[in-house]
């Protein structure tokens, strides 16, 4: 029917995983895509150099919401290094669809926020 709105994307959009707050998060980061207004807030808990728990809140299109849902599932338990190495190709593969440049920005917002959160965590750790 539609090339982009696959079963799996619609499934994550309808029943997002890891949606909600984490009350005792190590890092909370809010970001938005100025080109479209999509907003996301990421909550993260770390276990040394691993992500122990992650969740998100926010408004946005099906692409950004599904991307956030899939991403949070994917990164749980992964090491910081591994996540920092993730790029746009990886996200597209995860979503399983080919996106135009503009829609790719929607898909990448969650990863961008996640990385910002990690850098902020690393910064805090460094500062002691």
């Amino acid at each position: 029917m539609s090339d982009i709105y696959s079963e799996i994307i619609l499934n994550h959009w309808k029943s997002p995983r890891n949606r909600g707050k984490i009350d005792d998060a190590d890092v909370v980061i809010k970001d938005s895509n100025p080109l479209c207004g999509d907003e996301i807030t990421m909550y993260m808990k770390f276990d040394d150099d691993k992500i122990k728990q992650v969740s998100f809140e926010g408004k946005g299109c099906a692409i950004s919401q599904a991307s956030a849902s899939m991403l949070t599932e994917f990164v749980k338990g992964k090491s910081i290094d591994e996540i920092i190495k993730m790029n746009s190709n990886k996200v597209q593969k995860m979503l399983g669809v080919k996106l135009s440049a503009t829609r790719l920005k929607c898909a990448l917002l969650p990863l961008k926020s996640l990385k910002l959160g990690i850098y902020s965590y690393l910064g805090k750790k460094l500062a002691g």
Partner: protein, 397 residues
């Protein structure tokens, strides 16, 4: 106005194998071949820098540039042609309006809650710079502006859009300028969505300043207009400095050139002016009354066909609206609507349309918007309706 479609080469394009259904004219209009050729012809036969220029090409280019100014002046019925300042776009026009008034404004600056960022940010910044109060005229649940009466008190400027790019509302400018005059308020009108779509007579409407862009009215990108009454322009200060805009310059001092050059800095977009004139000629050939009638007809039809599938934003009556309809579809994000429509060859816009505070007030984050122009046909609206049904199917399966 089907017969004009053949003048627009882009309408022959196929998108994803489908006929292009262009419903994004409020963002930028398509261009007729007459405009495209006028620009090419300028570069091919009389391209030169203007003013101060004694050679034949320079004289011809100067003449064409000034004829474009005259065409604009007569299009909006300005009293003097030097009241027409060529700028980059509506946004720049509104910035020059705001900052050009920096030594004149006092008391409060009055806006409306339905302004585009381009008619909000310059005044926000001016208010910061001059420590002035900002006040806003609100609008009701149907998208009609509330009575400005008491808010005008103490307002040195009212900045207001003639047609909202989200609600579609056409504001009663004449009524408002009449009231504003009682309070001595300067009325700055954002004409980005009105000048392309209906007859606008600055003298009849009592408008002090008017901003609009060529690219939304069949013309080229990179050129727009700030119209302002001569007495006002004379009191205003330039905002950008250099080249043509001076009379005398020493290492430490400068005096300004006469109007309109005082506000035009550096080499202008000469080819843009030439193309702009061709666009105005085209619109006048069609007749602005006919453009408006067509908009109203298409909008009436679209309102009727859309009202059961989507939630329409703004006034219910086509006669109070310009040729655009913004809407939402429950949970489905406007970006997703736009993406699916694009698969069907249909181009609409989605997002906050540079009106974030307006959307926030409506309690939504974004909307989808279909917008029309003289080349829009009923079949385009039909395609949109079919496309929206597909959107539902995708998200409800």
């Amino acid at each position: 106005m089907k017969k004009y479609r053949k003048d627009f080469p882009i309408l022959k394009r196929k998108i994803n194998g489908k006929r292009l259904v262009y419903l994004d004219s409020a963002a930028t209009s398509q261009k007729p071949i007459q405009v495209i050729n006028a620009i090419a012809n300028f570069y091919k036969t009389f391209n030169a820098n203007i003013h101060r220029s004694i050679h034949t090409l320079g004289e011809e280019a100067t003449k064409a540039y000034e004829e474009a100014r005259e065409a604009v002046a007569s299009f909006i019925n300005a009293e003097h042609k030097e009241e027409v300042i060529f700028v980059r776009n509506t946004t720049e026009a509104l910035n020059i309006a705001a900052f050009g008034l920096r030594n004149i404004v006092k008391g409060k600056l009055l806006l409306t809650e339905m302004e585009h960022h381009s008619n909000l940010l310059p005044w926000q910044q001016l208010a910061k710079l001059k420590h002035l109060e900002l006040d806003f005229i609100s609008f009701d649940k149907d998208g009609y502006l509330d009575e400005p009466e008491e808010k005008l008190k103490g307002a040195s400027v009212l900045a207001i859009t003639q047609a909202s790019n989200v609600l579609g509302t056409i504001n009663p400018i004449k009524k408002i300028t009449e009231k504003a005059k009682e309070y001595g308020t300067i009325v700055v009108v954002d004409g980005a969505q009105s000048v392309p779509h209906m007859p606008v007579d600055v003298q009849k409407l009592g408008i002090d300043m008017l901003a609009f862009s060529a690219h939304k009215m069949l013309g080229p990108t990179g050129i727009g207009v700030l119209y302002a009454k001569k007495e006002l322009l004379e009191k205003m200060e330039p905002v950008m400095f250099g080249s043509e805009m001076i009379k005398e310059v020493s290492f430490t001092e400068a005096t300004w050139n006469e109007l309109p050059y005082k506000f035009e800095y550096g080499t202008p977009h000469i080819a843009g002016a030439v193309g702009f004139k061709a666009a105005i000629d085209y619109l006048q050939e069609v007749g602005m009354r006919n453009v408006r009638k067509h908009d109203e007809r298409i909008t009436t039809y679209a309102l009727k066909r859309l009202k059961n599938i989507v939630s329409i934003i703004g006034p219910k009556k086509a006669e109070d609206r310009s040729g655009l309809i913004a809407f939402t579809m429950g949970d489905i994000h406007p970006h997703d609507i736009a993406t699916i429509l694009n698969e069907e060859g249909i181009a609409i816009r989605s997002g906050h349309h540079c009106a974030m505070p307006l959307h926030r007030k409506l309690g939504i984050q974004a909307s989808a918007r279909a917008s029309f122009y003289l080349y829009t046909i009923k079949e385009d609206v039909d395609a949109l309706v079919e496309g929206l049904k597909k959107v539902r199917e995708v998200f409800e399966r």
